[in-house]
């Protein structure tokens, strides 16, 4: 293991936040041989460091400002890494680098590649690609062969080979009979079945949330019922089969209510929400920055005058039909974002997943109808989500919980805590650092984000995966930083 070769790391002086162990205190962290040796009060950790030194090994000390947060490395249950087959958009390596920059140390990659991850051969291929990646990449395998919704994949072999879950993401499992079989068959794998809830008959060729803005812009609507109808079906099937079901990227208030009721009734369901569905609304398609990320940035939104001098081509975000805000499921209403935040607060929604969906420029530089769905989200997730903390909408502890132990538990991944002996996956966050999103600086090949040019508050400073530093934000000269010990 690479972790065994590296110098031990000793993080000193920050705020230790480990929701899995109910820890939130000024504390230190000692990482040795890819494992967490000690986490806790500075004196206790120092004792471990001294003991290590007596055994002949000197830890590299990294002194942190006291407001910096030391947390478990983030776990993303939903990322599209595009490889094999769609390397113009992303590769496993570029996606994993983006993850490291975003503070993620474990990412689960979706199988809608070319070929689809639907048999052991492709799964092993992706695992091989992930070997040299800076963060841990766990593949999700398809539910049905070719994601065609007809025949189940060899789930037992796939699970034994490392498939962490099953999903036909990008496409819904349209046939309820197949979903019932999948939930039943997957029971013996211990792995969850994920559905991307989108009733194709209700959604049709919808490209944005079906509401007044779609009406005004003349765009086909993607109705809320397109999600809730299929989710209701799946929850009923999960109840009847006893299967493990995970609902991907919830976007509407009705879905939160359905999952809440199902959980109350003991259905084995977990659910995720994306940063963009929590923070952005359909108004962003019309270049109006509605919601928490827009209030201070552009008061009253940016409406484009149809007459007179237009902004230069250098500021395309002032135009409506903003393809960077085209995503599936679509950005919804302010009321939906409120319900999703509420669901996250009360635990109805277990975790936050990015649905990182990188695209090449040509797939976004076109008419809204023709543009690809998706947002490149790994590198902006933390900064965007910290808005919820700064606006007093979500406690920091719950945010970290939803990015670490909650997703790890949903898929049964050994990650997400700072307990002794656990994998040395750690992120250090400066909660107050202000930075402006500049997609040209992304490690991801996908520069498709509606947050370009938006100032965020909260930044990943350091990412450690398996005991190794995999990302370090350039230090500012003005800040007092520690020296190597």
């Amino acid at each position: 293991m690479p972790g065994e070769m590296t110098q031990p790391l000793w993080l000193r002086g920050g705020r230790l936040v480990d929701p899995a162990n109910e820890i939130d205190l000024p504390g230190d962290l000692l990482l040795v041989d890819g494992e967490i040796r000690a986490a806790g009060k500075p004196g206790e950790v120092a004792a471990h460091a001294r003991a290590l030194e007596e055994s002949g090994r000197v830890a590299r000390a990294i002194d942190l400002p006291e407001d910096h947060i030391i947390a478990p490395g983030f776990v993303d249950l939903h990322a599209h890494l595009r490889e094999p087959g769609l390397e113009l958009r992303e590769t496993v390596m570029s996606g994993a680098r983006a993850a490291a920059r975003g503070g993620f140390t474990t990412i689960c990659c979706m199988p809608n590649t070319q070929p689809v991850i639907d048999d052991r051969g492709v799964l092993e291929w992706v695992k091989a690609l992930a070997q040299s990646a800076p963060v841990r990449v766990l593949p999700i395998a398809a539910i049905t062969r070719g994601q065609e919704g007809a025949a189940l994949t060899e789930m037992h072999e796939l699970a034994e080979s490392g498939a962490v879950a099953f999903s036909d993401d990008g496409k819904p499992v349209r046939n309820g009979g197949i979903m019932r079989l999948a939930l039943t068959y997957a029971l013996t794998t211990g792995r969850p079945v994920i559905n991307h809830c989108e009733d194709p008959d209700l959604v049709g060729k919808g490209v944005m949330h079906g509401g007044p803005i779609a009406t005004r812009l003349g765009l086909r609507g993607w109705p809320a019922a397109g999600e809730t109808v299929m989710l209701a079906r799946d929850l009923e099937l999960a109840r009847q089969t006893g299967g493990r079901y995970h609902a991907a990227h919830l976007s509407v208030a009705g879905s939160v209510e359905l999952v809440r009721r199902a959980k109350e009734q003991g259905v084995r369901v977990t659910a995720e929400v994306t940063p963009h569905h929590l923070l952005l609304t359909h108004a962003w398609v019309a270049a109006e920055r509605e919601g928490m990320l827009g209030v201070s940035a552009q008061p009253g939104g940016v409406s484009v005058p149809s007459r007179g001098v237009q902004p230069s081509a250098g500021s395309p975000s002032r135009y409506r039909y903003n393809t960077a805000a085209k995503v599936n499921p679509p950005l919804r209403t302010l009321a939906d974002t409120e319900a999703l935040i509420g669901g996250l607060l009360d635990g109805t929604i277990d975790c936050i997943a990015t649905d990182h969906a990188p695209h090449s420029a040509v797939e976004k530089e076109c008419c809204f109808d023709e543009a690809a769905f998706g947002i490149s989200g790994l590198e902006t997730a933390l900064g965007a989500l910290m808005t919820l903390v700064h606006e007093y909408r979500l406690p920091l502890k719950r945010l970290i919980h939803a990015l670490t132990v909650a997703p790890a538990r949903a898929f049964g991944i050994d990650a997400g805590t700072l307990g002794e002996g656990q994998r040395a996956d750690v992120v250090v966050i400066d909660p107050h650092a202000r930075w402006t999103v500049d997609p040209s600086q992304f490690a991801s090949q996908g520069r498709n984000t509606p947050l370009a040019g938006i100032e965020l508050r909260g930044q990943v400073k350091l990412t450690i995966c398996n005991g190794q530093i995999v990302f370090e934000q350039e230090r500012r000269k003005t800040r007092h930083e520690g020296r190597e010990g």
């Binding site: 803005i213 003349g218 007459r307 008419c367």
Partner: protein, 320 residues
């Protein structure tokens, strides 16, 4: 070109803006009738780029540009590199590199003109984008109604038909309400979703599903084309029932013998409008077509920067 002027939609246009544009249209038409070809756009070029079929819009833009003295190049998607898979971005950049003053574009995707405007130096005039907007149609409708009414205050117009898929209806919602009129949208609920009631906040736009009720309050009626492919989408049970409920028939119009009738064309006579109405005494459909040329002269002259539209003042312009 920092003084570039785009006509993407009439959203945001005030009554003064629209009135000035209509005044300019009337004036340019008189000038053209008196003096023949004008030279306002002499030495400038206009490209029309049509991704959808068109008769009246494309031809009237071409005639308008020529009447102003411009050189005109017409391009359609069929027979061009678009068929080889050239993207809109590349097509626009290629045409723009040839230095036209104005690109007039019709495209099947909503927002195409607005998106393309961000990619070119030429002024962009939207000749219809998807379901979204058709601003020159709305201007010629406004000119036709002004000729009829004189003043828009207190006037009501019923727009009846497939509202959901209509760029004409959407643009008219902005322009006619800006001028002071009230718009009543009418059609079957599958083609007139309830979201229309909330789509135009602060505008006098309302939704009415009963055509007879709507007509009781109307000072004019605009009939939209019913595209027969809507039948395939299951929006309607039958054309027969559509005609029964929403067709403009002599029987339905009998109580309102003077009600002016507009239609943006092309018509499905016998479905949304009966021939007796389409070609009857109250039809303003041919007048709409004639006004289309005048309005497009004004739009092109303005977009190319040959004429200014001072707000709230009499239009001043001159030969360059």
């Amino acid at each position: 070109m920092s003084d570039r002027r785009n006509l993407l939609d009439l959203e945001g246009w005030s009554a003064a803006d629209i009135t000035a544009m209509l005044d300019l249209a009337v004036h340019l038409r008189e000038q053209h009738q008196t003096n023949g070809k004008l030279d306002l756009l002499h030495g400038q070029s206009v490209i029309t780029l049509f991704y959808e079929n068109s008769t009246r819009t494309r031809v009237s833009f071409e005639l308008a540009a020529k009447a102003l003295g411009a050189d005109v190049a017409n391009m359609t998607a069929t027979g061009s590199s678009v068929e080889k898979g050239e993207s809109l971005l590349d097509t626009i950049k290629t045409l723009d590199a040839m230095g036209p003053s104005v690109i007039v574009m019709r495209h099947h995707a909503s927002g195409a003109a607005e998106t393309a405007a961000g990619w070119c130096r030429a002024a962009m005039v939207n000749a219809g984008d998807g379901w979204h907007a058709h601003p020159t149609q709305a201007l010629l409708d406004a000119l036709t109604l002004r000729e009829q009414w004189g003043d828009f205050a207190g006037k009501r117009i019923v727009i009846v038909g497939d509202i959901q898929h209509s760029r004409v209806a959407r643009s008219n919602c902005w322009s006619l309400t800006a001028l002071g009129a009230e718009v009543i949208l009418c059609g079957p609920p599958t083609l007139l979703p309830a979201t229309f009631a909330a789509a135009y906040p602060d505008r006098a736009v309302s939704v009415e599903y009963d055509l007879s009720h709507a007509l009781e309050r109307a000072n004019a009626v605009m009939v939209l084309r019913l595209q027969k492919e809507r039948m395939d989408g299951g929006f309607l049970p039958s054309l027969r029932e559509y005609r029964r409920d929403y067709g403009l028939t002599p029987e339905r119009l009998a109580p309102y013998p003077d009600l002016p009738v507009l239609h943006p064309g092309p018509m499905n006579e016998g479905i949304e409008i009966d021939p007796a109405i389409a070609h009857g005494a109250t039809s303003r459909i041919e007048r709409q077509v004639a006004n289309g040329v005048a309005v497009r002269m004004a739009v092109l002259a303005w977009a190319a920067g040959a004429v200014d539209l001072p707000q709230g003042q009499e239009v001043t312009y001159g030969k360059k």
